[in-house]
Every structure is written in C-alpha cells, then in structure tokens.
C-alpha cells in the first residue's frame, strides 16, 4: 500500500517530533535512554499515526489495539508519541523522572495511554502474548496487540518462552517489532552476546518473519499492513526492523555511550539544533536552556 508523498512527509515530521521530545524530556529529567528512543522513532510514528486503532478520548475503548513496550527503557519515545497524540498535555513530558510525575520506565497506573508497566527486560512479550490470547478469547477480533522488543533484550530467556507460547497458540493477532539497532548498553550486540541468525531462530520457533529498514516510512507501513492484513496465517508475526541506535544525531548514532547517558542542557541544545537541520527545519535548540 503506497503512502502519498504528503503522508510520508507528515509521518516523518511526527518522527522528528518524537525524537525532539524524547531528547527534551531526557535532558529535563537528567536521566533516560536516548539511543533506543531515537532508533524507534520512525516505527512509533507509523504505528501510532497510521496503524494503531487507539483513541486518546477513549483510552479504555475495548476494541482498541494494544501496544506493549517491552524495551521499556525507551519510554521517552512512547511518552512523546502519546503526548503528541493527545493522551496527555505535551507540557507533562517535562515531569519525566520527577517524583509523582512520569515514571522513568513505564507505569500504566500513572500515565494515560500506557497499556503495561515494565522496565525489567524480557517480560513485555509474555504480557503481550497473554493479552493477545485474552482478546481472542473475548472475540475482540478487530484488536491486535503490538509489542516492541529490543535486540539486546532477546538475550533474555523469557523472550523465547513467550515466543514458544505465541506460536503454540497460533497468536496471529500478536505483531512483534524488533528495534534491531545493533547496540546494547555496553557495546555492539554481536560483541556482547550475538543473537543471529535472527530470522532463522524466529522462523524455527514458528513465527512469520518480515525484515525491513526501520527508518523507511513506506517500508514500515508496508510491513505493518502485511502483518495485519495479508500474512496472518495462524502464526505470530515478527518484523525485524533494522535501525540505527541513536538515529538523528551524528554523535549518538551506533554509539553505545548514548544508550543511557543523558546530555547536559548545552549538549542537548547542540543535538537538537543538529536534528532540526537534518530534518530541513530552522535550527531549534533545547527549549529549556537557561538564559533563553
């Protein structure tokens, strides 16, 4: 399904905003994970602004799609997306990591729009699989469950327990996206603990596997469309999205040091200027830089 040029421009703009707000909130909170937030921004844009059936005015709508962020350390990208969608005011993101504000990872009881709580890796796919089973049991056939997992996260045994379960029960209403940004907390995935051959492993576990460039808006949309409408054949579906950790700013790209490191306000100012120029926008720095 071909997106129009205008649609692509719009979705790229949402991805830009997700990257911007992620960096803003990490800088304001002086904590967070920029690398994994920046790598999945394009995926989040297409998911929430083109694919997911969710309604910020009716967050508890029974027939909605569910999104479970298993790699919950990349929560800034999700919070940014939910804020842009209107689940809560954008201003609230500046409460990130403030007591009583927005949780560093994810707390579904605290922030509107979240479907799960998390932060300890490997758990989200099990939750998503249970949810997919439950929705099917309730005959909510219009609802799909989307789960975002990390590449490093796939070292966890819990991921493979969930993978086995999902295929055993033919959960083709479960669409999992792997943000394969190649970098984990302390180095490249293949140095720390290799996960290849990914496609073969997931296929051997009984999954339908698609593989895309995770920064190509059209390719992301195609894969999500296929996953939902074409390749549902009694198997859960994995989309391996090849991405660049820290995508958008030269210094953070494929740089494990920016997995957890938060920028100083001055660094963030430079980063955000670079990001805006890269997107062909007028240079815009960190909104809360002192003295501005």
């Amino acid at each position: 399904m071909q997106l129009s040029k205008e649609q692509i421009v719009q979705l790229e703009d949402f991805a830009y905003q997700i990257r911007r707000l992620s960096l803003e909130m990490i800088t304001c909170g002086q904590w967070g994970h920029p690398g994994g937030s920046l790598s999945m921004a394009d995926l989040m844009s297409v998911l929430y602004f083109k694919v997911l059936r969710v309604n910020p005015q009716k967050p508890d709508w029974e027939e909605r799609d569910r999104f479970v962020l298993s790699k919950a350390h990349a929560s800034p990208a999700l919070y940014a997306t939910l804020a842009i969608m209107g689940f809560f005011p954008i201003e609230d993101i500046y409460q990130y990591c403030q007591i009583g504000g927005i949780e560093g990872h994810t707390d579904m009881r605290r922030t509107k729009g979240l479907e799960s709580s998390g932060g300890s890796l490997g758990m989200g796919l099990s939750i998503a699989a249970g949810l997919a089973y439950g929705l099917r049991k309730k005959e909510l056939f219009k609802s799909s469950v989307y789960c975002m997992i990390g590449d490093g996260e796939s070292n966890e045994g819990n991921i493979w327990e969930a993978a086995m379960f999902a295929s055993h029960y033919h959960l083709d209403n479960l669409i999992t996206i792997m943000d394969y940004n190649k970098v984990m907390a302390k180095g490249f995935v293949w140095d720390e603990m290799g996960i290849e051959p990914l496609r073969d492993k997931w296929q051997a576990f009984g999954w339908e596997v698609l593989e895309i460039d995770g920064h190509d808006i059209q390719a992301i949309y195609d894969s999500l469309y296929k996953a939902r409408w074409i390749q549902r054949c009694g198997k859960p579906i994995l989309i391996i999205a090849h991405t660049v950790k820290g995508r958008g700013i030269e210094d953070t790209e494929f740089n494990y040091k920016w997995h957890t490191q938060h920028p100083t306000p001055q660094e963030a100012d430079q980063m955000l200027r670079e990001l805006s120029v890269r997107y062909g926008k007028p240079a815009a720095g960190y909104s809360r830089l002192e003295g501005r």
């Binding site: 707390d107 799960s116 300890s120 099990s126 439950g134 819990n158 327990e161 086995m164």
Partner: protein, 322 residues
C-alpha cells in the same frame, strides 16, 4: 471446634483444586494458567470441568506470570498456578513487576509451601515466600489454616481487586472452623482464649498451636491461640490486644522465621507493645528430603516445640517482672 482427624481429610491442595473448580462455574472470567503441574497443584479439577478456560504454558514459569498479566489486562481473572518456590524464587521478578507493580487482578496460589513437599528437597521447598511476598507493594498475602479457611480466602481473593498471593500446603489439616466461616483481610481470629501466653499461628501451623495449647494445659498453662490467615495486611489490633492480656507471644509458621510471619508479628509488637516472644519455623536452613513428619521433628516445628517455646517466653516474661 476441632473436628475430624487429619488423616481422613483431603489435603489442602485438594480443597484448593475443588474450590477453584467450583468458583469456575460461578465466575466465567476465571482463567487457570498452568506450567505442567496441574495434577500436583490439583488445578486438574478445574481443567476437567473448564478445559476452554485452562491454558498450558509448559515448563516456563517466567512466561506463566507474563501471560497471566496479559490475561488480566484483557479483563480476565487469571490464576497462574505453580509451586511456591517458582513464584518466590524462579519468577520473582515477573511476578513482582508484571503483576504487582501495575496491581493487576491476578490471584496467585503458592503450592507446596514449606516443609511438606513429598521428598522433593531444597529445590521444591519454599521457605522464603512469606518474607518475599510481604515486601511487595500492592500485594495481599494469606495462609489459610483449614478447608473452610481455604474456601473463604479464595472467595475473598476473587472479590478483592488486585494481586493476591495465598499459600496452599500439600498436607491434610483438621477443621478449625465451621462451614460458614468467612475471611477478611487484616483480621485474625482467636481460636482459643487464654491468659499466660499467646500462640500466633498462620497457615497449617495454627493446628499445631492448638495441639501445643493442649500440652500446655496439662502443665497448668493457659495459652491463647490466634489464627492469622491474613499475613499482609496483618491484624495489628488483635496482636496488641491479645498480648496485652497474656504478656508474651510465640509465633509459628511453615516457613523461614527470617523476615517471615513471626517477624511481621515482632514488627507490630516492637513498635507498639514490646513483650518477650519466640518464633517457631524453619531456622535459616534449606529443607532436606525425608518423611514429612520426620522433617517437622528435625526442624523443631512440632506442637512440643511450640509448647517449649511458650515456656521460654513465659520465663522471660516472669524474669522481667522480678
């Protein structure tokens, strides 16, 4: 109060399985999730009646609790069932973070708690679950003491929104309560009144406290016996009221005394009404394989041990008075 002999009664796990199967007929939102132990935990009784609401996850306990969390998010009331040692040890993080942190409506039985597990030994004996569970925010914790108590705890657990952990022992217990018995969170029950010492029991150990009270009676010692199925929240008021009358306490639990039920009672007493007390339970030890009654003797968890502890507590109380 105390009725027929233990040997003629079904084990508590059987009562649990029967009750779950009965509840399944009343509440269509109950789903049972199993990790290849249904004939041991006795949820096979639910499986036989409601196969369409029974999910097998295989030997994968981490996934067991994640799937239960997902089912709760979909609006079901899941009972993920496995041995307590796999809840409190193997899948502790999944249980705490995926279920208790978001306060999901999941009811978790911990089967094969404490000493009686056939002869399985250390890997299958849970001694730490009370200690671990009572530190987890949002979670309620119970240890029923007889069949009526098990039914009452499960009924209340279903009616209570949010996560509940309750202990299911692989052991037969005589009746403490009548069939119209009810359970309330944060409420203990005085089973026998007395004036010299209070014996606080939880789970299967309340029965042993009653037997200890009989032994003490022969020595002209009047022991009060209090059953505390609700471990968290705990009945602070009753603990204080009872020891105000008796002046000393003994606790008994089928679990480690380190940070367990006895420690919970001690916390209440130390902060409110300090009195001499002794704790009966597993004393910082892995549990060996062996005949169950031999193991109870080996770990000093017999009625005689409780009675002996009561003597010591009373002695401490009297020496304080001098």
């Amino acid at each position: 109060m105390a009725g027929h002999e233990a040997s003629s009664t079904p084990q508590m796990r059987e009562i649990f399985g029967q009750t779950l199967a009965e509840m399944g007929g009343v509440h269509e939102d109950i789903m049972v999730v199993d990790a290849d132990l249904h004939t041991s935990t006795r949820v096979v009784l639910f499986k036989e009646k409601f196969p369409e609401r029974f999910i097998q996850v295989g030997i994968a306990e981490q996934n067991l609790f994640g799937v239960a969390a997902g089912l709760a998010l979909a609006g079901f009331v899941p009972f993920p069932c496995t041995f307590a040692s796999f809840v409190a040890r193997k899948s502790a993080d999944q249980f705490a973070l995926s279920i208790c942190f978001p306060a999901l409506n999941v009811k978790v039985p911990g089967s094969y708690v404490g000493v009686p597990t056939s002869k399985a030994g250390a890997s299958h004996n849970s001694f730490e679950d009370i200690a671990y569970m009572r530190t987890i925010p949002n979670l309620k914790v119970a240890a029923p003491g007889d069949a009526a108590d098990m039914r009452a705890v499960m009924k209340t657990a279903y009616e209570t929104p949010g996560p509940v952990y309750f202990r299911v022992v692989r052991y037969s217990l005589p009746d403490l309560f009548d069939s119209d018995h009810t359970f309330e969170w944060g409420k203990g029950k005085v089973i026998k009144t007395g004036s010299d010492v209070t014996l606080f029991g939880t789970g299967m150990m309340t029965d042993r406290c009653l037997k200890a009270a009989v032994l003490l009676e022969k020595q002209k010692i009047s022991a009060e016996v209090v059953h505390m199925a609700s471990i968290k929240p705990i009945d602070e008021q009753l603990i204080i009221e009872s020891v105000t009358r008796t002046g000393c306490a003994v606790t008994a639990e089928n679990a480690s005394i380190v940070a367990g039920f006895g420690a919970a009672v001690a916390e209440v007493l130390v902060e409110n009404f300090p009195v001499p007390m002794k704790r009966i339970g597993i004393r910082d030890s892995w549990i060996d394989s062996g005949d169950i009654e031999d193991l109870f003797a080996h770990y000093h968890m017999q009625p005689e041990d409780i009675a002996k502890a009561a003597f010591e507590a009373i002695k401490m109380k009297e020496s304080k008075r001098k």
